[in-house]
Symmetry: C2
Amino acid sequence: MASGDVDEIQVAESSFISSSRNDRVPSEYRDDENTEDDVSGDDQSTETLGGSIGRRNGTMARQKLEKGKKIGHRRVGVGGEITYKKIQTSQIMGSIQLGIQHAVGGLASKPERDLLMQDFMTVETTVFAADGSNHTPAHHYSEFTFKTYAPIAFRYFRDLFGIQPDDFLISFCSAPLRELSNPGASGSIFYVTEDDEFIMKTVQHKEGEFLQKLLPGYYMNLNQNPRTLLPKFFGLYCYQCNSKNIRLVAMNNLLPSYVALHQKYDLKGSTYKRKASKAERQKKSPTFKDLDFMEHHPDGIFLEADTYTALNKTIQRDCRVLESFKIMDYSLLLGIHNLDQALREKLEQKKNSMHVEGDEAGGPSSGSVSLNRTRSINRQRLVAHSTAMESIQAESEPIDEEEDVPLVALYFHFKSIQNY
Amino acid sequence: MASGDVDEIQVAESSFISSSRNDRVPSEYRDDENTEDDVSGDDQSTETLGGSIGRRNGTMARQKLEKGKKIGHRRVGVGGEITYKKIQTSQIMGSIQLGIQHAVGGLASKPERDLLMQDFMTVETTVFAADGSNHTPAHHYSEFTFKTYAPIAFRYFRDLFGIQPDDFLISFCSAPLRELSNPGASGSIFYVTEDDEFIMKTVQHKEGEFLQKLLPGYYMNLNQNPRTLLPKFFGLYCYQCNSKNIRLVAMNNLLPSYVALHQKYDLKGSTYKRKASKAERQKKSPTFKDLDFMEHHPDGIFLEADTYTALNKTIQRDCRVLESFKIMDYSLLLGIHNLDQALREKLEQKKNSMHVEGDEAGGPSSGSVSLNRTRSINRQRLVAHSTAMESIQAESEPIDEEEDVPLVALYFHFKSIQNY
C-alpha cells in the first residue's frame, strides 16, 4: 500500500477466531478451519457451502449437497436437520440462550470492581434442570450444565468494547439465534444473533483452553494498544449435555450487513498460491487473496499518510502480540466499500422501494419498535468503539444521509486461534 | 476519619516492601520484619537500632550495641564492618551499581514496545569478570553475576511512574549508595541512593519469587487503579557472588527528606496492643500506632469530602488487590506535615542560616550543579507522579516560597510482601 489521497473510506478490523455479519456466506469463516491451504497449495479443497442465509425466519437455506454430510462434530441429517456432537442445533441454541441470560443477568448483582488475575481463571457452573430451580427457569430442552469462563474478565472486556449488559442480553436472548450454513472444514458451528451484532462459534477443547490462557495477554494488549485490530471476545462458555462438552466463544460480527463490502481480500503477505479458487470467484461476494489484490490494485490502495502510518504501526503491534501467543497462522481481511458504487446502489434501491412502498408500510416491524431502537443504539456504540474505525477511517466528502455514512471499507482479519 | 475542612495538607503513599527516605532511622522499616507483633503482642521486641545516618559521606553512624551482632544474613563485625551472606556490604553496593548501569543502560538499545506476558517471566543474566569483557567494565570487586528480572516490565513500570532511564541511572550509579543502619528483625539490608530518591532492599528467595509472580497482577492494578497507594517497584535483581544469591528490589523512597513529617502513624485498623513502645516514643521521630492515633486525634483527621471519598475508595481497591495476592499483613503509614509547625521551623532555619551563610558559599556543591539540577527535575517528576499526591492532596493557602510547598503530610504504607 502506498500513502496518498483517498477516494474511499477505510476501516480495519480483525479476528483470530473468525466471525462475520453478512447475508452472504462469509468465506472467511472457512479459512481458519482450512489453514493448510497455503502449505498444501490445495486452494480448491475448500468446500462449496453456498447460498444466502434466510435472515428473518431463523432457518437456513441449505444446499442439497450438504445433506447427510458430517464434518467434524457437525452432521447434517438426510432431512436437513443439523446436529453437533449428536445434539440438535436448535437445542444447543435454545440452551445457550438460557445459559447466557443466567450468566450475564447474574453479573448484575456483582458490583463493578477492578479486574484481578484470578478473574481469568474462574469458571462459573450452573445446572439447568428441565423442571427449573430456585435460580434457573424450567425449559423444554434436555437437562444441561452451562459453564461461564472468566465471567468478570469478559464483563470487563465487554465494558471496554462499550457493550452494555442489557444490550448483550437483548442481542443474544430476545430472539432466536440463526445458524450459519458454513461449518468449515473442522465442522464448527456459527450462530449469529438476530440483530447481526454478535457471533457465537463452537471451539474445540484445546482452542477454548488456549483462549483462556491468552486472556491476561489479551487484557494487556487491549490496555496498551486500544486501536488493536485483533478480534473482540465477549465470552467463553461450555454447554454440557449428554456427557458432551460444547465450547463456545462469543465475538463481534466482523462484517456488518448494513455496509456492503464491494471487494474482500484475505491477505497473508505471501504470493505462493494465494489466488482465490474458481469456485470462490463465482460467488456473489468472493473473498480474493494476495495475488488477486495485486492484480486488481497494482498500485496498492491509497491511504492518507497519517492513516497509513497508524495502520502500519497497529499491524506491527498486533503481529507482535500474535507472535507472543505463538500464533503463526493469521491473515488480514481487507474489505473495500466503494462510495460511488454504494451511491449507485442506494439510488437504485430508492427507485425500487418507491414501487413497493405501499406493501411495506405497517407489517410486523411496527410491534418491535423499542427493541429496534435499542439495537440501533447498540450498533452505534459498537461502531463507535470499533478500534478499527477510530484508527483507520479516512477522510471523505460528507454524505447528506446519515444512514448511509460509509463507515466501513477496509477490514482486517487476523484469524485462527486454533493453529498454535 | 471524618470529612470536613482542612488545615493540613494530606498525601498518601504506600509500600508492601517498606522503604523510606529520611535522615532519621525510619522505624517503618522494622515493622515489615517484625510482622507478628500484633499476634505475639510483643511490641517491646523491636530492636533498638539507633542514631542518625551520616548522609553525605556514605558511612553510617552505628551504635556500639550493634557491633558483633548477626541478624538473619546481616552481620556487623567487631570493627563495625557490615557483611551480608559474608559479603562486604561495600562490595555489594559497588557491584549492584555496575549491574544496574549495565542492565538499565543496555535497555536503551531495545526499542520501546508493548509489554507482553512473557516479559514478566524473563531474566537477563550478565557475568561481570573482574578484568571486564566486551560488554562489561573491569572492576576491583570479586567476579559476580548480575540477574535482572523482567527488565522490560520494570522499564514499563518506571516509565509509568515517570522515571526516565537517565534519571534512574544517575540516582543509582553516579554516587555511592548509603546503607541504612536498621536491618530489622530478618536482617534485610537497605541501600538508599545519594539523592534520597530510591531504596534498594534485600529480599529473601521466596519474597523475590513472590514479587515476580505478582507482576501481572501488579500491572493490572497500575492500569486500572492509577491512584493506587501500593508501593512503586522499579526493579528486581539478583547479585550472585561466591555461590551466594542476594536478591534486591528497587523501590521509591517513601519518606522524602525534604518534607518533615511531624507525626507518623503505622495503622492496622486494630486496637489490640497497637501502641508505640516506650523506646519508640523516645525517638526524635517516633512512629505511633492505632491507639496513639486515637489519643492524639480523638475526632480523627479532617479531610475534604471529595478527598475523603477518593481516599476511602483507593484504600478499598488496594486492599482488594492485597487480598487477591493473599497478603494479609499490611498497614497504612500516615504521615502528618503540620503547616504551622513547618513555617515556624522554616523561620527558625532562616535565622540560623543568616549566621552561617558566609561559611556555606562556595564549597564542594558548586562542582555538581548539573547533577543537582537533574536530581531536582527527577524529584519534581517523582512528586508529580506520586499517585498519592494526586489523589489525597488537600487544598491549602498558597505559600509564597515554591521550595517550601508542603506536598506531603499523609502517607500510606502497605507493608510486608514477605508474609504470605
